[in-house]
Amino acid sequence: MPCLVTLTHAPYGSRIAKDSLDVALVLAAFEQQPAVLFVDEGVLQLLPTSQTPSSHKHIGKIISALEMYDINEIWVEQESLDLFGISEDELSQSVTVITRSNIAQLCAQYDQHLVF
């Protein structure tokens, strides 16, 4: 039963980004083959940063674990990238860019959809 996990929160400032990535990793560990979709401020999680707020874990390390957990379907919304002026080649992971108009179609491919 594949599940789509949508991440909408910026990497730091709250625990939500980390908590939601944890859910994706646990789903993968339970062989649920989740896919991950980054939208809104969530796309900022994919920026490689050299510095991390000292009280936080480096989110990039969790992001890079996605592949290790066989989460290969990583989607990023084009409009969200545009909003922050980020181009695809700046991202830390290889992702598939999808336009907003195709998101509904993407969601329909999954049995379950968790939005964080």
Partner: protein, 162 residues
Amino acid sequence: MEPRLLAGFLYMSDLNTVASPSVDPTSIASKPLTFAIVVRCGPDQQSQALSAFQFTQELLLQGYKVLRVFFYQQGVHVASKLRVMPQDEVNLTALWQQLSLEYNLELSVCIAAALQSGIVDQQESSRYELDNDNLAPQFTLMGLGQLAAASAESDRLVSFGG
């Protein structure tokens, strides 16, 4: 059955019409859908947290099976037995406990989130050599894996909060 208004915006009958194509509608009639509920909003976010409760209660009232309610992120705060509400306000902790007793409903609380929020049971309290424990009866501390399992075993996963 006449559709009943649920939480002011959703009719229970709608839940059957959004069934995914892989589910044969005739099988729904003979075998009620299995639900898993995720609560990510804290009890201070009254309307959302209350919706989660009312939705779950309505499912059980109408004979649906609720596999598990999983409390995560801010949702774990409802599992503290030390919450005291003003007399004229709803105590969600007590409501969940009552529902759990009535329907033998499993209330799972993410252990990692709970510990970070100061929600501990006896076992964790002694493990970390704390003075006390405050997990309300009927709630159980569980790993995040129980959320993944609930997602795998249920027909519908419904998440509240965020």
